[in-house]
């Protein structure tokens, strides 16, 4: 639990630093996941990290900083993408922050296009299914695909439900819907029924709805859902109710929103209550991360930007990287 807290806190401090960088002119745009740390940190800690179909594939969206940090990503790399430097390992200055991509960890490139990852997930899940050897736990990679509640209106969401539940051809695919109750400015209540997870019933897919602000619930329920998908090689739909603490993106100001439950504050109270960590220690740790990240951002500011002629690189792959596992 302390490890979860540490990674959640770091993710929050990093997102707040990214927002600061945007506000100070060190980056053109911010989008991210403050308010989803309980769920996403748990996911990053539980994922079977590696390269190729014996490991888990991650089709994430643009609120996944906590997931990547929990998997071991360097916070400076997120700042590099924010500042669109030539050192940004995820896109070399080509994409927005929180658009992660890392072949070594099976993290497919995040696209701003909503829900397309749900159309791609059946492909990696089929590869996972083939790689898995019955009874050989270490070979049982799964596909994890994540998106928001508003995006479930796209046909791609139905695509994933249909393709992962074809009769006798079920796929090891864990679909996660982070329901933050918003689609930019549009309240969820105007756009969909209260439960997204209920749609799984029509496909014979098991599902669960959880409180995504309670990290103990998130960790336990994610572990349970992943174990189900891993062992049965069948799909599962997990809907987690989460918060959106800084609005949609920097386009809506990226200011702290009042009235949303804060998963980190909840965990801090819980840790205090259980006597696992003193409040002063938490304050100290937060100050320390905030300081470290501020200093790191200064270093990132000095790193080189890509040059214009970079645009013609890598339009075509010269090597067949995905077959070099």
């Amino acid at each position: 639990m302390l490890r979860l807290y540490d990674r959640m806190l770091l993710a929050r401090c990093l997102e707040e630093r990214l927002i600061q960088m945007h506000k100070q002119g060190d980056g053109f745009f911010w989008v991210g996941g403050p308010g989803e740390e309980a769920l996403n940190t748990s996911l990053g800690m539980l994922v079977r990290k590696g390269q190729g179909p014996a490991y888990d594939y991650l089709h994430l969206h643009y609120r996944a900083t906590a997931t990547l940090l929990a998997m071991g990503a360097d916070p400076m790399d997120a700042m590099r993408q924010m500042k669109n430097t030539a050192t940004d390992p995820y896109s070399r200055g080509r994409n927005f922050c929180n658009h992660y991509s890392k072949r070594a960890w099976n993290v497919l490139p995040v696209s701003s296009t909503i829900e397309v990852q749900f159309s791609m997930a059946p492909g990696t899940a089929l590869a996972n299914k083939r790689a898995g050897i019955a009874g050989h736990a270490a070979s049982q990679g799964i596909t994890i695909v994540q998106g928001g509640d508003a995006g479930t209106a796209e046909g791609d969401f139905a695509t994933c439900l249909i393709w992962s539940s074809l009769p006798n051809r079920e796929l090891p695919c864990l679909m996660i819907v982070t329901n933050n109750h918003w689609g930019i400015s549009t309240p969820a209540a105007h756009m969909h029924s209260e439960q997204i997870a209920a749609r799984a019933d029509a496909f014979g897919i098991r599902s669960a709805v959880i409180d995504g602000n309670d990290v103990e619930t998130c960790y336990a329920e994610l572990a349970r859902a992943m174990e189900y998908v891993r062992s049965t090689r069948r799909p599962f739909l997990l809907e987690a109710h989460v918060s959106r603490l800084y609005g949609h993106t920097s386009a809506s100001g990226a200011n702290r929103v009042a009235g949303e439950v804060d998963c980190l504050a909840l965990l801090e109270s819980r840790l205090e209550e259980l006597g696992l960590m003193a409040r002063e220690k938490m304050v100290e740790l937060r100050a320390s991360y905030t300081h470290e990240l501020r200093e790191a951002a200064k270093l990132v500011r000095e790193e080189p930007q890509p040059s214009g002629d970079d645009i013609y690189r890598e339009i075509f792959a010269e090597r067949d990287l995905v077959h070099e596992v």
């Binding site: 390992p89 080509r94 059946p122 596909t143 339009i315």
Partner: protein
């Protein structure tokens, strides 16, 4: 001589046996039908998908990036328009990840008119396709190229769009276009690899021992040599082009006909060499003429070769209308016809600078 569909099928079989193809899939691609044009009959990795083009393209992307080797099909290119954003993403996987990922898939789709396919079975896709950076795009005009380009597409580390001119699918090649290793007698080949009509549950193909052939992506071929005027085309229009060249030869006008074969990356040196030789050029395709790939070639010709031209370069393409109408006169009015090509070439050849 094999037909184009037989050549595609043989290439896919070789792809499965020797180059690691793991999946040939799409609507009605697997048994019992094996493709609405028979292009995937008898293939061991062929399977049927839901009626969902976005799912087909998305799954192909996922399979490719997870180390499989997929060949997916959209039943008609007319139905690929709902997947254009996924096509953009596939083309951008390598670039957007700064070279960390590649996306080695083949997506095939029948294209074009010529079969009285009415509004939604006659569209072309080359103009759309050439607006998708990151894709390689091929369009064969004969069975031998259909075979060699498919094998090259399967072995390429990038997404490759394979546009199959549907009006040519059942056309046999010339003796010079025989596939390496195919049986001498077309009847023998048919008995070996064409599924019988009716119940085929007990049928299995007997594959001939065809040899590898890789037609390099990005290389045009000179389908007919000439010295007076260049004609650059691809796909179904190649046959119109060759007919027109034959007619003009009777008038003493020698047309050099270039089959582009690959639209991206395209063989500019081959085009340039021919234009420098003839000084006169016609670009020919059947997609709608506004924002047409031929317009790009025309622009490049004007910008780079203006002072070497002896006549204003021309483009003949499809009418800019919403679809191809069903009635014979409507289709003929919508896509270039041999008479127009002959007239345009004659005008180019006779133009006094």
């Amino acid at each position: 001589m094999a037909t184009m569909v037989q050549a595609m099928r043989l290439a896919l079989h070789v792809g499965e046996e020797r180059f690691g193809v793991t999946d040939v899939f799409g609507q009605d691609v697997g048994p019992p039908l094996g493709g609405i044009f028979t292009q995937t009959q008898g293939l061991k990795t062929a399977w049927n998908t839901p009626l969902d083009e976005r799912g087909i393209v998305g799954t192909a992307i996922g399979l490719a990036m997870a180390g499989q080797r997929p060949v997916a099909e959209i039943q008609f290119c007319d139905y690929a328009f709902n997947s254009v954003d996924l096509l953009k993403l596939a083309g951008g996987m390598c670039w957007s990840s700064a070279g960390d990922w590649n996306c080695p898939l083949v997506l095939m789709m029948p294209v074009g008119s010529g079969v009285r396919g009415s509004i939604y079975h006659s569209h072309s896709f080359d103009a759309q396709a050439t607006r998708l950076p990151g894709w390689k795009i091929v369009m064969p005009s004969n069975p031998l190229d259909a075979y060699g380009l498919m094998l090259a597409a399967i072995r390429d580390p990038n997404p490759v769009l394979y546009l199959a001119p549907k009006a040519l699918l059942r056309v046999r090649g010339t003796p010079a276009q025989r596939l390496p290793g195919e049986p001498e007698d077309p009847q023998v080949l048919s008995k070996m690899i064409d599924a019988p009509l009716g119940d085929r549950s007990a049928w299995a193909p007997r594959w001939p021992d065809v040899e590898d052939l890789v037609t390099p992506l990005g290389a045009a071929s000179i389908a007919r040599e000439g010295e007076h005027v260049s004609l650059v085309s691809y796909g179904r229009m190649m046959h119109v082009a060759l007919d027109a060249a034959q007619k003009l030869a009777e008038e003493g006008i020698e047309t050099e006909v270039i089959d582009l074969r690959t639209l991206a990356p395209y063989d500019w040196p081959a085009i340039k060499t021919s234009i420098q030789k003839c000084g006169r050029v016609l670009f020919l395709n059947e997609d709608t003429e506004v924002t047409n790939f031929g317009e790009h070639l025309l622009r490049r010709t004007v910008e780079e070769l203006f002072y070497e031209l002896e006549a204003p370069p021309k483009l003949l393409a499809g009418a800019h209308v919403p679809g191809i109408g069903l009635a014979d006169a409507l289709e003929r009015a919508s896509v270039p016809q041999v008479e127009q090509v002959v007239a345009t070439l004659r005008e180019l050849a006779r133009h006094a600078p």
